[in-house]
Subunit: 351 residues, 4 copies
């Protein structure tokens, strides 16, 4: 189902080349200040146009259909709509018989009995992460509202709840690329990365990346011992982002090669764990330390470089160069999506 | 909440040193042959007693309280109980003021306002994975029942649905340790691993491991495009197992360092992807290939080796050597738990 | 929460005088033929304009934003939008300090901390039943699709699935007014009812009604023994319609005054119960007979007739004559809403 | 599904003649004082043995398996078990081919493909209302705990939270029979009722009743505008009790015959509605007045009096006199069950 959450419920809809995409949020507390300007910053972070991203540029202007009155949330469901305008559907006609490798074309065709909308991936499109980012903006504000008990407009000049200067807000969520194309961040890695990006672009190929997300100032006690451990809920949301191949918390996969005396986290004199190898979660429950997790994104599946693959109609192998406009490294646009998903999880626990 | 599933619903209860632990399964199809003997094999795989596991040995005999009549499921909720017998509660008295590093003692105390049962970790205990394994047995049989359409007893000598000789059953789920203590499987790694285990035992320390799970013969179409992608549902269940630090599907974290032309999976002449780098899932939906995922387990948190940690009552650092009987590498007992969790997810999709 | 269903999930949004109202349906099977024309008949039945209904007339034209491609459902979420056009918000300004008797003004103000949209009742407005009727249209088609296994267009001239001449379709749902204004249907009651309506209109007063719904050709086995008995699910949906005061199945409240030998329903020679006093449901589960239930609707709360009520700002009693355009008997417009809710329940059980 | 609630989750299991019946409660707040003594009073109210009830008497002693430590709830799932002891299974053997009129025998057989446990109605038995009453006891205490903020033992001599002398506790829930066997309560109706009961007993027949439930001291704001209106949630729970035929709130079915000026509830000088014809709920949301609803229970289906019904094996009509020990009027035992269901709903909203 395309619905997430138990208390802060997100319902996603839309197709890449349909009339509009959007999201309905149910369970948003009343009284949170909200206008379309609040969405600008996060939506811009997801936008294409930079090096390594697609030249398909959409206006991406949110329309708030309901749930807001006089610039505050009303407590009723909040519906946000984005029109689709810049669509080139003819690009996709040929692909109906040649499912694109790495894409959902094949499974969608089987699951939905060929009734799925094939244009631009239809409902499977990465474009659907736009309303998710919008939902994340509301979730971040809901979290701040619940934890700060502040329901008034912040003082002018201080900016929105999610970007208040250096002092961390409650559940401050920040994600960034830490390993673009397999290159670890270091003094001179920025140059290597640009070169790798240029090379991939030239070859019609693509790159992946690892994104790290850190959530600061988390209250102790979020999550449950078993089936709704905080890692369960976060990973559930993160694997809803197209192209994720793995997730790890704290020491992650390295923990499997450590000894207990190395990985364990004794409490220091200040009552805090010394190392945070658990990534802020023990027994499924937040322990008050920074929640730290890393997400592996695959390289973009749509590549111009020729791939030999099957034509399911002719039953013959064929050379495919995926047409259309695509990101060389879509992962560059994902940190704000990772943040949005984390925010949806925390809002669901907190409201 | 300690409840999982939408159609095949699991409710877990119990504490390590309470009277009994158990599970209620709601949504089990009627007519599946089921007796206590069906649980023997999987429960034995989880059992302690082997090298690197705790000497606390429980009878672990399931009592079926409801939902079975004349050795077949009735369609009514199935309740399974395990008595706790071999409990040494006095071991834990001293730990209430010194939360054990890596354990849930601290968060449980905060979340439940000190009302949690502290004996043996209470509800947070790994012992709760026993009813999960039992639930997994029922889930495996439910999956087979739905996919095979077979509701009669299998012919004698063929064994249970989950272990029918060499021919894979539908959704055949198999998990095993692939990297014990950071040592990759190879010709001579078995010896290295036993040495590492002996060394850790001698030092009072502990080890972790990576478990790989492969699910064969999966129907195409399980999962949803966004919030209930198959990876979302599987990771949700897997992170409910105590001690998991990461999960990856197919090429996993390596995918983030690959090029699109390397990671992508063109369809071969037989209509199957050539490499299965996606781990059997595209766009959140099973594509019919083997589902492959790896799970990182941390080293056992309870170690005899001294750790310097805080006494929250005296507010002074103290040397802690965790008493009680513990696994040196609890991950050795987890493959069957990983299988059970995977089975719960698939059963929930299929029933 | 404004979300209903487990498999066929409905998310409702919008306010009476906001930009638009609508609904998102998740879990709609792929391949059901669907165009905006399919909504015309049911939407017209809900429309105002007849005797005893409000002169506020809206275009009520559905816009399908997603989930339909080439006139068939795609299996992705289906979003349907209705613009609000004919709004007179100034009518409601004075009512913010004098909560209208029988309305949600008071509770909305408390629950949402005065942030609710007060115009026309905001999200509480009966106007929200319009997208519910639209959802019901899709639900009825989904039910027919599942039960008939027919996913093609019906032959021309046969009409839509919900109105196929005299032969009942599977789960054929029909609701009608059986007791308008407390007047039982009989030979000459139609005249009495028109007189009562005229009198109420003249007095600025309002009337209620009892609606009866009959569902024919129901498969045996829908519902669950306890918490999701079919009556539980139907009543849950029905009490979501504004203004419902009661519901009864089969013999209903009369059953409480009957003897077992009168109310019991022995099976006749044809294997069917003789009387259907149970209203088609035994033990929470459909028994294959007609499901029959009756719903009591209160009289319209908005009346022009003066009511003495409290002004919560001045703390003084005041005479209130509710302005605006209202139904004298809104229940006249509800049979199609009752059908829609019943359809949502059955679709949720069947898809 | 046999699971109820979103925050305070109830999972019911067991069969009438199985080993045990019980319930798992997930979401119980930590720190509520709870011992087996707390269940005595409500369980006794449900017990048989009085005039018009069955002579089958069970010990009905709850065993708390988990979730309680040192006489307080721990926050972990609470499992409560009742052993079945006094079972006469041979009574039911003959009924497998002659489904009892008014019972679930027929639908259970179809829905569960003849795998259901037929003994004593199996999972459909009214005996399952025993763990529901136990769940209600915990729910009542959870409500009091949340609303009073009191988590300590009440002072000795004051009794349990649900029966504190004359001063109403928050959400004080009280149900009673108001119309036994169709006889309205009045000065001399008690005698009439006893005569009706004696007559029914003598004839081997049975009687029904109407139960009224009043909930006092309800906070304003419980419930939601549409799909989870408070009436929706209460009716959902109430129709989970076997034998319910109808429910109405406030003026109920009478409201359908009233004028708006009669049914409407203006606010008086004290800020309270004058009449409470809405039964404490407006727009789906509690308005702070007493919640008042009435429930129609059918007469007991099991009667000794002969009924002509079909033998589904011989395909011939046969005279059936239902053997076994049954209530002449099982509704006499239901007020405490109605209270329990109401408490489950309120606890789910409040915890």
């Amino acid at each position: 189902m395309n619905t997430f959450g138990r208390n802060f419920i997100v319902s996603l809809f839309g197709e890449s080349h349909g009339e509009a995409i959007g999201v309905v949020l149910d369970g948003v507390p009343a009284g949170i200040p909200l206008t379309v300007e609040d969405f600008v910053s996060d939506i811009r972070r997801r936008k294409s146009g930079g090096k390594g991203t697609t030249p398909r540029i959409e206006a991406d202007e949110p329309v708030i259909l309901s749930g807001v009155y006089e610039d505050h949330t009303t407590g009723a469901p909040l519906a946000i709509l984005f029109k689709n305008t810049n669509t080139h559907s003819s690009d996709y006609d040929i692909l109906q018989q040649v499912p694109r490798p790495g894409h959902a074309d094949f499974v969608a065709d089987v699951k939905f009995d060929s009734f799925n909308d094939p244009r631009g991936g239809g409902h499977f499109s990465g474009r659907l992460t736009l309303p998710i980012v919008a939902a994340g903006v509301v979730a971040k504000k809901a979290i701040a509202s619940v934890l700060e008990g502040e329901e008034e407009e912040p003082a002018r000049g201080k900016g929105s709840a999610s970007g208040k200067g250096s002092e961390p807000t409650p559940c401050d969520i920040k994600a960034k690329i830490v390993e673009p194309g397999g290159i670890r961040r270091s003094n001179n890695s920025e140059k290597k990365w640009r070169e790798a990006l240029d090379a991939a672009t030239a070859e019609g190929d693509s790159l992946g990346a690892v994104v790290e997300c850190v959530i600061r100032e988390v209250p102790v006690g979020l999550g449950e011992p078993f089936f709704n451990s905080l890692e369960s809920c976060i990973s559930h949301a993160i694997f809803s982002i197209p192209g994720v191949r793995g997730i790890e918390f704290g020491d992650g996969f390295k923990a499997a090669a450590m000894k207990g005396s190395e990985h364990n986290d004794p409490f220091g004199p200040d009552g805090h764990p010394v190392k945070n190898g658990a990534g802020g979660i023990n027994g499924g429950i937040s322990n008050g330390e920074d929640i730290v997790f890393r997400v592996a994104f695959k390289p973009t599946s749509s590549i111009a470089k020729e791939q030999q693959t099957l034509n399911f109609v002719t039953d013959k192998m064929t050379a495919l160069s995926v047409p259309g406009r695509h990101d060389v490294c879509f992962a560059l646009r994902t940190p704000v999506i990772v943040e949005a998903m984390a925010a949806l999880v925390l809002a669901d626990q907190l409201v």
